[in-house]
C-alpha cells in the first residue's frame, strides 16, 4: 500500500475518533489465575469475551509461584489488570497494599451480598473491600459406597459425627482387610487445614490466631479430632503411606478404590466421574463432634485488581459482571463448577447431579480462617499446624502437640 494511502487512512481513522465523541478502541485486559483454577477462569473469560468488545486474556501461573509473581510485579509496577488467587492470601495481600480498594463498587452491588460469607469476610480489611468470590471450592467428605456395602454399612448414610466416622472406618477395615477405612495426606499442611480443620471448628474450636495473644487451637474439637485420627492410625485403619504423603497422592489413593472415606474437595466429583466412571461414591459434609456440627473449609479463588492496574475501570466492570446470575450460572454452574453466590447453589445445571448441590451448599455453611502469615502457620513443611498433626497422630503426644502448636502459632502471629 502506498504511503500516501496509509496516511490518508490514518487521518480518516483519527477524524472518526474526533468527530464521534465517546468512540473508544476495544481494550484487552490481562487476568492471571493460578493453575488449579485456570479452567474455571477460562470458562468465565470465554463467556465475557463472547459478549463484550473489550477482551480478557488469561495467563496461568503455577500455584506455588503466585505469591512471588504478584509481589514482584506490584513492586516493579507492572501488574495484570485482574488477578485470581487462593483466597487464603487475601489478608496478607490487603495488608501489604497490593490490591485496589473496591468498596465503592462492591458495597452497593446487590449480588455482592449473596456471595458466600467466607469470601466476603476474607476480602475485607480495615472495613474496606478489596475483592470478591470468583471460583470457589469447598471441602467435603467423599466415601466409597462399594466398601460401605461390603462392610454392612448403609451407603446412603454417611457419618454425621466423628465418632461415627471412626466406627465406620474401623468396620470397613475389618470387613475388607485389603482396604482402609480412612485416608489423609500426613505431610501436607494445606490438605489437612482443608479437610481436618472443619471437623474441629464445626464443633466450636478456634484454630489460627490473628495476633500474638489471640486464642489458638482452643475449644472443643481439636483434641477429639486428633485423638480420633491417632486411634485410627494405631489401629492401621489408615494406610502407612499416609504419613509421607505431601499431597501428591491426595486423591490418587482414594482413586485406587481401597479407601473408605477421606476429606476432599468439590473438585473430586468431576475428577472421579471422569477417571473412574464405574466407581460408586458419595459426598457428605465433614462431620463434627455432634450431629448438626458439620462444616467445611471454603477455599478456591478470589478475584481482585492489583494496585497500579492499567485498566482498573474495565476490570471492575468484569468483577461486577462475574457476580451476575448469567455469569454464575452460564460461566460456572453450566460447566459443573461451584458458583460463589450461595443463593445459586441449587440451580438447574446441578439438578441431575445432587452431589454438586450438597457441595455447593457446603460453601454456605463453611468458614475460612482469617489469618496473616497463613503460609508460615499452615502450609510450610514444618509449620506448627503440620507438626501438631504429625506429633499427635504418629507420635501419640496429643496434649504436647497442641501446646507446641499454640505457642509456635502465637509467635508467628506476633511478628
Amino acid at each position: 500500500m502506498p504511503s500516501s494511502w496509509r496516511a490518508a487512512l490514518a487521518a480518516a481513522a483519527m477524524s472518526v475518533v474526533v468527530v464521534v465523541p465517546g468512540t473508544a478502541f476495544a481494550e484487552t485486559l490481562s487476568l492471571w489465575a493460578r493453575a488449579s483454577s485456570s479452567n474455571a477462569a477460562q470458562h468465565m473469560i470465554d463467556l465475557w469475551n463472547a459478549s463484550h468488545d473489550d477482551k480478557i486474556e488469561l495467563t496461568t501461573i503455577p500455584d506455588n509461584q503466585m505469591v512471588t509473581k504478584l509481589a514482584t510485579s506490584v513492586q516493579a509496577g507492572d501488574v495484570p489488570d485482574l488477578i485470581s488467587f487462593d483466597l487464603i492470601f487475601m489478608p496478607d495481600f490487603m495488608k501489604a497494599g497490593f490490591l485496589t480498594d473496591l468498596t465503592a463498587t462492591l458495597s452497593t452491588d446487590p449480588n455482592q451480598a449473596k456471595v458466600a460469607k467466607a469470601f466476603r469476610d476474607l476480602a475485607t480489611y480495615d472495613g474496606k473491600l478489596y475483592g470478591t468470590g470468583f471460583t470457589p471450592d469447598v471441602s467435603i467428605l467423599v466415601y466409597n459406597k462399594d466398601l460401605f456395602k461390603k462392610a454392612g454399612l448403609d451407603p446412603e448414610s454417611p457419618p454425621k459425627t466423628i465418632a461415627q466416622l471412626q466406627e465406620y472406618a474401623t468396620k470397613i477395615k475389618q470387613a475388607v482387610p485389603d482396604a482402609y477405612g480412612y485416608y489423609f495426606s500426613g505431610s501436607c499442611g494445606g490438605c489437612n487445614i482443608f479437610t481436618q480443620a472443619p471437623m474441629m471448628w464445626g464443633s466450636g474450636a478456634t484454630l489460627l490466631p490473628t495476633s500474638g495473644d489471640a486464642p489458638a487451637m482452643e475449644g472443643p474439637g481439636v483434641k477429639e479430632v486428633l485423638t480420633m485420627l491417632k486411634q485410627m492410625w494405631d489401629a492401621k485403619v489408615i494406610p502407612e503411606s499416609a504419613e509421607a504423603d505431601t499431597g501428591a497422592n491426595f486423591m490418587a489413593t482414594f482413586e485406587t478404590g481401597t479407601i473408605g472415606m477421606q476429606g476432599s474437595g468439590g473438585f473430586a466429583i468431576s475428577l472421579l466421574k471422569a477417571n473412574h466412571p464405574d466407581m460408586d461414591f458419595g459426598i457428605a459434609p465433614l462431620p463434627g463432634l455432634a450431629e448438626g456440627q458439620a462444616s467445611s473449609f471454603v477455599g478456591g479463588d478470589v478475584i481482585a485488581i492489583p494496585t497500579g492496574a492499567k485498566h482498573a475501570e474495565l476490570a471492575t466492570q468484569f468483577i461486577q459482571w462475574q457476580l451476575t446470575d448469567e455469569a454464575q450460572l452460564e460461566g460456572l454452574a453450566k460447566n459443573l463448577i461451584l458458583p460463589s453466590r450461595s443463593d445459586l447453589a441449587d440451580n438447574k445445571y446441578f439438578q441431575e447431579e445432587p452431589r454438586y448441590i450438597t457441595t455447593a451448599q457446603a460453601v454456605g455453611i463453611g468458614q475460612t480462617p482469617y489469618a496473616f502469615h497463613f503460609n508460615d502457620m499452615v502450609n510450610a513443611d514444618q509449620s506448627p499446624w503440620l507438626t501438631m498433626l504429625q506429633t499427635a497422630i504418629f507420635d501419640g503426644d496429643i496434649d504436647g502437640a497442641i501446646e507446641g502448636a499454640r505457642e509456635a502459632m502465637r509467635a508467628i502471629a506476633a511478628e
Binding site: T68, D92, E243, A244, N249, D376, D381, Q382
Partner: protein
C-alpha cells in the same frame, strides 16, 4: 615502564570478562549481602537491621539440622559417585566397538532435567504404582511394597539412587578424559615390566588421575551442598523435615515464610561454607602431582 604498559594492555583484554563477572556475579552477591542485613519481606518493605538475621540464623535449629542433613547427603553420595564413575570409565574402556554405545547410554540421563528425573523416580518408588517396588518384590528382596519416604534413611537412599542414575555419566566422562590423557608409554612400560591390569590401575591410572578425582569431588560436593530439586520433588523434606537440605531451608524462609532478608542471610552462610570447601579442594588440586 614498557613492562607495566604491556601488563595494562593485557588487562584490557580481560576487561570484558571482568565486567561480565562484576555485573552478573559480584553485583548480585553484594545486593544479596545488603539484603541479608535487612528485614525485607516478599510482601514489601524492609529496614536495615544489621546482623540480626545472622544471629537468628545461628540460633535456628531447623537450619542447622538442614545443614547437617546436607553434609550427610554429601558424604554419602560423593564417594559413591566417585567410585562408580571411575569404575564405569574403566569398564567401558576395553571394547572399542561397544565403547561409544555403552558410554552414550550411561551418559543419556545427564541431559534430562533434574526435575523431570526426580519426578520419574518419585513415581518409580511409589508404594502402589511404582515399578521399583514391584521389581524388588518380584526378585524376593522385599516381602511387600515399601513406603520409601516415611523414613529419612529410606528417603536419602531413594534420592541417592535417582541422582546417581542422573549424574553418574558426567563423572564417568571426566574420568574417561583423565584416563585418556595419561601418557600411553607409561602403561606400556608397566606392561613390559609384567604389571597386570589391576596393578596398572592401582599404581598408574589412579595416581595420575588425582587431579580429575579432585575436580570431580569438587563438582560433586558443590552440587550436593546445593541439592534442592530432588528433595523438593521426592521427599518434600519428609519425614518431619528430616530430609530438608540447606537450600530447601532457604527456599522455605524466602518464599513460603516470605522472609527475603532472612533467606538472604542463610544464603550467605551457605555460600561461605561452600567457599571454604572449594578453596580447600583447589589448594589440594594445585599441590597434587601432574604428569
Amino acid at each position: 615502564m614498557v613492562r607495566a604498559l604491556r601488563n595494562n594492555v593485557g588487562f584490557l583484554y580481560v576487561l570484558p570478562a571482568l565486567a561480565f563477572v562484576g555485573f552478573f556475579v559480584l553485583w548480585p552477591l553484594l545486593q544479596l549481602g545488603y539484603l541479608s542485613l535487612t528485614d525485607t519481606s516478599l510482601l514489601g518493605g524492609g529496614q536495615f537491621i544489621g546482623l540480626e538475621n545472622y544471629i537468628k540464623a545461628f540460633e535456628d535449629k531447623k537450619f542447622w539440622q538442614a545443614l547437617g542433613f546436607t553434609a550427610r547427603y554429601t558424604v554419602f553420595i560423593t564417594p559413591l559417585l566417585m567410585g562408580l564413575g571411575f569404575a564405569l570409565a574403566l569398564l567401558t574402556s576395553p571394547n572399542r566397538r561397544l565403547q561409544q554405545i555403552t558410554r552414550g547410554i550411561i551418559f543419556l540421563p545427564v541431559v534430562i532435567g533434574i526435575g523431570s528425573s526426580s519426578l520419574l523416580w518419585f513415581w518409580l518408588f511409589d508404594q502402589q504404582v511404582g515399578l521399583f517396588n514391584k521389581f524388588l518384590v518380584d526378585i524376593g528382596l522385599l516381602a511387600e511394597p515399601a513406603v520409601w519416604f516415611t523414613k529419612a534413611d529410606m528417603g536419602l537412599l531413594a534420592v541417592t539412587i535417582s541422582i546417581t542414575w542422573k549424574v553418574i555419566g558426567f563423572g564417568m566422562l571426566l574420568f574417561v578424559a583423565g584416563i585418556q590423557s595419561i601418557n600411553g608409554e607409561i602403561g606400556e612400560a608397566a606392561l613390559i615390566d609384567g604389571g597386570n591390569y589391576w596393578q596398572r590401575v592401582w599404581y598408574i591410572i589412579l595416581p595420575l588421575s588425582l587431579r580429575v578425582i579432585l575436580l570431580t569431588t569438587l563438582i560433586s560436593v558443590i552440587g550436593s551442598m546445593l541439592a534442592f530439586d530432588q528433595f523438593y520433588i521426592m521427599t518434600g523434606g519428609n519425614p518431619r523435615g528430616q530430609t530438608f537440605t540447606a537450600v530447601y531451608s532457604i527456599y522455605q524462609s524466602s518464599f513460603i515464610s516470605f522472609k527475603l532478608g532472612y533467606g538472604a542471610a542463610l544464603s550467605i552462610i551457605l555460600t561461605a561454607i561452600i567457599l571454604v570447601f572449594s578453596s580447600l579442594q583447589v589448594i589440594l588440586s594445585n599441590r597434587s602431582p601432574s604428569q
